[in-house]
């Protein structure tokens, strides 16, 4: 059995580990440290942890100030408030001047669950993707989350790490490479390619298993970095399979699906389809019920794949 843990716990643990190696790391939160799990870092390094209270805008602005002073701030809150309320600080105070700020924002996507649509960020990738110089990581499991935190620290400039709330199974290995901007092929098949991010990788792998029982050979690719984007891999897989399905716990507008579409347009004749949130808001429910209701399940992914290549 693979280890299971939430991405947010992995995030907090990785920060604490990174903190030991690099004393320039400071961590900021906005009254959600027990949810984003920056509390793990705070317990170990209370002198390097700053709670800004319910003031995400101020936190992001102050993060820029930290960065201008040679520190490496990791600012955390929920994805909806970090990328939403503080967007223009991220744009003008941080991104515009390439300030060395990292955002570890949790509770992304529908898997927030019962808190409902006001708390489920399904547009954060879109918002961050349009900012020049932004790096975006969407880790799929605890191991990859840790690698994303360490990789973020190596990059000089803003990095967004999209973290999810639920406990998930580990699907990558310690030795799996994590090279920013380079997608990982998790399964190689020739009939269709599923390109996925985050928690949807688990569903994509299961969909590939379902398709295998029907003799359909499926590739599954993990685009853990949304920006800079691995366009080469997209074109290679489109050529190899002739059909591409993107899967994301995000709006089909502006996220992975859009990023792939931008690459394919004018460059490939592959059949193409986007599985994701179909231009709707989320709502309350258990994560599994929401995934089912919004078509983010292995069964629906497999069905869409078959529809595309039939």
């Amino acid at each position: 059995m693979s280890e299971s843990k939430s991405l947010r716990v992995a995030y907090g643990e990785a920060l604490a580990e990174l903190g030991a190696k690099n004393d320039k790391i400071v961590v900021m939160d906005a009254d959600l440290s027990h949810a984003t799990m920056t509390s793990i870092f705070a317990a170990k390094y209370p002198d390097r942890f700053y709670n800004f209270g319910l003031a995400e805008v101020n936190m992001m602005g102050a993060a820029a100030g930290f960065a201008h002073s040679g520190l490496i701030p990791f600012a955390s809150t929920f994805a909806i408030f970090g990328t939403g309320r503080a967007y223009e600080q991220i744009r003008n105070s941080i991104s515009y001047v390439n300030a060395n700020v990292k955002f570890g924002l949790s509770h992304s996507g529908l898997s927030v669950g019962e808190d409902g649509g006001s708390h489920q960020s399904i547009e954060d990738i879109a918002l961050m993707r349009v900012l020049p110089g932004m790096t975006i990581f969407v880790p799929c499991d605890p191991i990859e989350t840790k690698k994303a935190v360490f990789a973020a620290c190596e990059i000089n400039g803003p990095v967004y790490i999209r973290v999810a709330r639920p406990v998930v199974e580990t699907i990558t290995r310690e030795e799996t490479p994590f090279i920013p901007g380079k997608a990982n092929i998790m399964k190689d098949g020739s009939d269709i390619c599923i390109m996925a991010i985050g928690l949807m990788l688990t569903e994509a792998l299961k969909a590939a298993d379902i398709l295998a029982t029907e003799g359909i050979h499926t590739s599954v690719v993990n685009f853990h970095t949304i920006k800079p984007f691995d366009t080469e891999c997209v074109l290679k897989m489109a050529e190899q399979c002739g059909a591409v399905v993107t899967v994301e716990e995000h709006s089909i507008i502006g996220g992975l699906g859009s990023a792939v579409a931008e690459v394919l347009a004018g460059n490939s004749c592959a059949k193409f389809m986007r599985v994701g949130i179909q231009d709707k808001f989320g709502k309350s429910g258990k994560p599994a019920d929401l995934f089912a209701a919004y078509g983010l399940t292995a069964e629906n992914i497999a069905a869409q794949c078959k529809f595309l290549i039939k």
Binding site: G53, L54, G116
Partner: protein, 272 residues
């Protein structure tokens, strides 16, 4: 409504809150129990509302800006007949109209959707200003949290409320001293909150936030030419001994043992 009846109602509302949150195994017990009397003062005494006509043009508007406390609001709306009490037991379930945070498009009686803290404060300013603009005489009540006031937008709203002389706007602060990560003072001190609102230009009154009559009286004190701020001193988790004044109970899941103890404290025997 005499005191005996109102106290009995408050107890029943608390029972419903505990039951709802136990059934959905999520949500915010401490925050909901904290503002029961504030909401009751509005819905049973001060505010002009009609459950049989939830969209009545001249109704008073009520904005629960600290939207995470909506179980308290839902229990009251159900009691008033805005929807069936049975609906309460499906809180936060898929396809329930009772969302994790108030949703004006799904639930009858909700004037404004909320949940992203701070936003209700400025929506309330817009509602109050619109009432003035339309020369309508309804009032706007907004309930905010003491962690919520850390949001800058709350102060932008306060500035505008005074600038536009919104004497039809009443801000009620659920002053329980706690937020998620600890006390206000540990996380981000809010200082002398009465002095801050007074300096902005509000008429400021402090009351016991669990005394429905005191809250109602404060609401009814006439004020002209400026908005009113009522600082309601409350206890987070009020009514359940092990939740009272514990920030950990902001959003903790209630287990079966805790459920039984809580209901017993509220005078209900269960055997779940």
């Amino acid at each position: 409504m005499n005191n005996e009846i109102i106290n009995e109602k408050a107890r029943q509302i608390r029972v419903d809150i505990i039951k709802m949150l136990y059934l959905c195994q999520s949500g915010h017990p401490g925050s909901s129990l904290s503002c029961v009397e504030i909401l009751m003062a509005l819905y049973y005494k001060a505010a002009k509302v009609d459950a049989t006509n939830p969209t009545m043009e001249n109704r008073d508007r009520i904005v629960l800006s600290k939207g995470h406390a909506c179980p308290a609001l839902y229990a009251i709306l159900a009691d008033k007949g805005y929807f069936s009490r049975e609906d309460l037991w499906r809180l936060r379930q898929i396809d329930s109209h009772l969302q994790g945070h108030p949703d004006m498009k799904k639930t009858p009686g909700i004037d404004v959707s909320s949940g992203s803290l701070g936003q209700g404060a400025s929506i309330a300013v817009g509602l109050a200003l619109a009432a003035k603009h339309k020369k309508a005489d309804y009032k706007v009540y907004v309930i905010i949290g003491d962690g919520e006031v850390q949001e800058g937008i709350v102060w932008e709203a306060a500035m505008a409320a005074v600038h536009y002389k919104l004497d039809n706007l009443i801000v009620l602060l659920d002053y329980n001293g706690l937020q998620i990560d600890g006390s206000n003072d540990q996380v981000m001190s809010i200082g002398d909150i009465m002095a801050k609102y007074r300096t902005f230009g509000f008429e400021c009154i402090k009351v016991n936030g669990h005394d429905i009559n005191a809250i109602t009286e404060a609401i009814n004190i006439p004020v002209a030419g400026k908005p009113k701020f009522i600082c309601c001193e409350t206890v987070k988790g009020k009514g359940i001994s092990f939740m009272e004044n514990h920030f950990e109970w902001h959003g903790r899941v209630i287990n079966t043992n805790e459920y039984n103890v809580a209901l017993k404290e509220l005078g209900v025997m269960t055997n779940v």
